[in-house]
Amino acid sequence: MSTEVGNGTAPEGAEVRKLDRVVIRFAGDSGDGMQLTGDRFTSEAAAFGNDLATLPNFPAEIRAPQGTLPGVSSFQLHFADYDILTPGDRPDVLVAMNPAALKANIGDLPKGGTLIVNTDEFSKRNLTKVGYASDPLEDDSLEAFQVHKVAMATLTIGALESTGLGKKDAERAKNMFALGLLSWMYHRPTEGTERFLREKFAKKAAIAEANILAFRAGWNYGETTESFATTYEVAPANLNTGTYRQITGNTALAYGIVAAGQRSGLPVVLGTYPITPASDILHELSRHKQFGITTLQAEDEIAGIGAALGASYGGALGVTSTSGPGIALKSETIGLAVMTELPLVVIDVQRGGPSTGLPTKTEQADLLQAMFGRNGESPVPVVAPQSPADCFDAALDAVRIALTYRTPVLLLSDGAIANGSEPWLIPDVDALPDLSVTFATEPNAPDGSGEFWPYLRDPKTLARPWAVPGTPGLQHRIGGLEKADGTGNISYDPANHDHMVRLRQSKVDGIEVPDVTVDDPSGAARVLAVGWGSTYGPIGAAARRVRKMGMHVAHAHLRHLNPFPANLGEVLSRYDKVIVPEMNLGQLALLLRARYLVDAISYTKVQGLPFKAEELQNVLADIIKGVEA
């Protein structure tokens, strides 16, 4: 089904103020259902036609004890009447369901910001649990904010008395109360949520009703009590016309693989091993077997990629998914794929490192591992999505390269992209690229001997033929030892080895990738910001802010890290200064400096969190001033 935009009726009474953008953060205990609450508000905003971006923030993998700081879970969303690029730096509105949530998040709320607190949880015990000496709701520590104290639990339980639901169960619905209240404040359409709740709890009608009642109670609470003087309106954004949906990076990536399977006509075999934050790709793909997708949860990462490579040898589209530590384990097998020149897609959803690091946090520090993390000269193309929805296209592109050039391809997503979500203009299936491949069926020996040479190459792509077992007359053996070009026989010949090393490199260097486009509206910029991956949003937003300040800046974002776009060198040379913001210690910067001898400056942050637009705005502004001075 699809909802038409609109019908966010303005509530009576309260004064209405118009805003172009709002950032709301829901924060509570892992058990409080903040992710669901955020998701729902997101759908409402989407249905209403705002542009938006979200940033979920889970606690570390293990559930911490209730009410503790490590147990805090939050969901931030940014919605606006124009197209936005980030989930927002800081919340305008913070909803805190308990003391822990307040303590963990209040620091991010700017002075004057709106704070909505569920007072019911502010017991002495809960306060001391998180080290509040005195109750912040009573002392003056919050006076810088517009504080709304709401006994959400009590009010919810009250609203549900009729249902005869037990106190505990009733109290569980308080997140819907909060959602109702916020929906009222921002004139959100409500039927979507009500429908959602009915579907979600289809089997438990009572629970469904309870949640809907709580939701309405929240709405009515805003409507009827005086405590909220103003409500806000954020008009729909005028996005490109078409049908949209909300999508996370991992889902978009999984859909990209499904689509690639359909467009190539190949069965897909995912060989993988669970790891945060990549597991959802496995979860998603395992639900779509009707598309000819086999998902194999192997005993470890090495077996996962091994199975994928074996499937590729058999003529399937082999895919493996993991995060940084898993890539380390797969590196030997990636090398085998390089040597055997078989198509393979290796997905790395990057997380905080080194070692186990910060499994639930984001980072982009696996670029050099992707480039160089194998023994010998072992070149592999590297592709990176720049936002959640972009994962779909990036996946298709990675598959295109793998199939066309018969090579493993590294697809570098990251934790922020994987779990973040944004509206996605649903593509027309028939307009998706044709990825069909042709298998070798005939002997090809140039000497006319009627033999099959598995390492004879397509002069244009330098790809070798893909001859799958079962093809009569093409029996051949491949493996990890150096191969003679052409015949593919084992060769210890020094000249052949040198030739093959360079040939594998040229094959990757010769991969067709589109030129990088530069965003420089005024054309007057002397400073260029270059990025890759999930920094797209913050860099883009920062550039806009800088331009609002009346300065000029150019932004180029790389989808292809290997090979680089052909025009990249020329682009870099056009600017007085090149700055490379990265969530690592300067890995792309290193590659650019080495390749183009351009004095690219790194701006790095490795906090497991995305850049803030404001932070980058200041960095860019300073550099621009420096150049123009």
Binding site: M1, S2, T3, E4, V5, S43, G49, G192, N238, N240, T241, G242, T243, Y244, R245, Q246, Y255, V258, Q262, V269, G271, H288, K289, Q290, F291, G292, T294, L296, A298, E299, D300, I302, A303, G304, G306, A307, A308, L309, G310, A311, S312, Y313, G314, G315, G318, T333, L336, P427, V429, P469, G470, T471, P472, L474, Q475, R477, I478, G479, G480, L481
Partner: protein, 352 residues
């Protein structure tokens, strides 16, 4: 327990693999590559045995694949005129699993060594066995690392003096058959390189078995572990030591069945047939997991008794059949509508 129902009991190991009526000869399975093992290496005889055996299956050669790891024995695929992959050390079972899952029309064989399969590759081996992927695994056990020029392996006897253990090795070796049985293997057999007939028989049963079949082959490495199995090759000694199994038949061996296997507590012992009551002689039942294990313990590292033939052979759902069945079921249940998938449940439209 859907998974089990998904299995297609009764299927043979080769069902689904296209056959040919053209008569085949051993030489049809020889590739154009020069065989490069040391003179006298046991790998030669096994290679010949396999090349002579395959024609009897009447399969299309192009539907046979040999996947190996790294090691002397793992050179095997180069010498077979079939499809093949000489992969990396220890990973052949994982690679073969992906291939078998993707391609029901292939007969997939894994060739591996005692180091390749049991040292670096041990985990993939035991998981392949428990999943019961339809693979035939030939484990060339020469009780040494040949390719790297003679270090001890997980099947070397304790105290073995090698390049890496000049004062003698300290590891208690694996009993590969016990290990496989502990890992839920549905088929476990053993043969000796020099025993062409016995080897061929085990290969035949392995090929017919649907699921993972582990075949341990005692293989002599004349260069780094020469004579490891000589006691089994001496005609007289062999009579006293080699116990060949046949399902459903009393377990006797030696000249004129001089010896018999009898119960000994929960285990087994060897007795003079003449000295025991016929009813006490153990009858081999390849479906009895506990008997198979007891037999593996009777067959000791020092070769006092060496059991050959098929220890265990039972039918259970194979991973690859089940995986394909799941995809088929899904296809039956839902149409593969990509547009619908991409749209999902919750969309909205921005009008022009």
């Amino acid at each position: 327990m859907t998974a089990i129902d998904l299995g297609l009991p009764g299927l043979g190991g080769l069902d689904g693999v296209p056959t040919t009526d053209e008569p085949q000869k051993a030489k049809d399975y020889k590739s154009d590559q020069e065989v490069r093992w040391c003179p006298g290496c046991g790998d030669y005889v096994v290679l010949n045995a396999v090349q002579s055996f395959l024609p009897s299956l009447g399969l299309k050669r192009e539907n046979i694949v040999f996947v190996s790891g790294i090691g002397c024995s793992s050179r095997f695929p180069y010498y077979m005129n079939t499809y093949g992959m000489h992969s990396i050390h220890g990973r052949a079972p994982a690679i073969a699993t992906g291939l078998a899952v993707a391609r029901p029309d292939l007969s997939v064989w894994v060739v591996t060594g005692d180091g390749d399969a049991l040292s670096i590759g041990g985990n993939h081996l035991i998981h392949t066995l428990r999943r019961n992927v339809n693979l035939k695994i030939l484990l060339f056990n020469n009780r040494i690392y040949g390719l790297t020029k003679g270090q001890y392996s997980p099947t070397s006897e304790e105290g073995k003096v090698t390049k890496s253990t000049p004062l003698g090795s300290l590891d208690h070796p694996f009993n590969p058959v016990s290990l496989a049985l502990g890992a839920e293997a549905s088929f476990v057999g053993r043969a000796i390189d020099s025993d062409r007939k016995g080897l061929t028989e085990v290969l035949r049963q392995a090929a017919e078995h649907r699921g993972s079949a582990l075949v341990e082959i005692y293989q002599n490495c004349p260069i780094f572990n020469d004579g490891a199995f000589d006691v089994l090759k001496d005609a007289d000694e062999a009579q006293r030591r080699i116990i060949n199994l046949t399902h459903g038949r009393p377990i006797t061996f030696g000249r004129d069945d001089e010896y018999a296997v009898v119960r000994d507590g929960f285990g087994l012992a060897v007795a003079k047939t003449s000295e025991v009551d016929g009813s006490d002689v153990v009858v081999h039942d390849a479906t009895d997991h506990n008997l198979a294990f007891a037999l593996s313990r009777l067959s000791t590292q020092d070769l006092t008794h060496t059991i050959t033939g098929v220890f265990r052979n039972v039918q259970r759902s194979t991973y690859d059949d089940a995986a394909r069945a799941q995809v088929e079921q899904a296809k039956q249940a839902q149409t593969a509508d990509l547009a619908a998938l991409l749209r999902g449940k919750d969309t909205w439209t921005v009008a022009g």
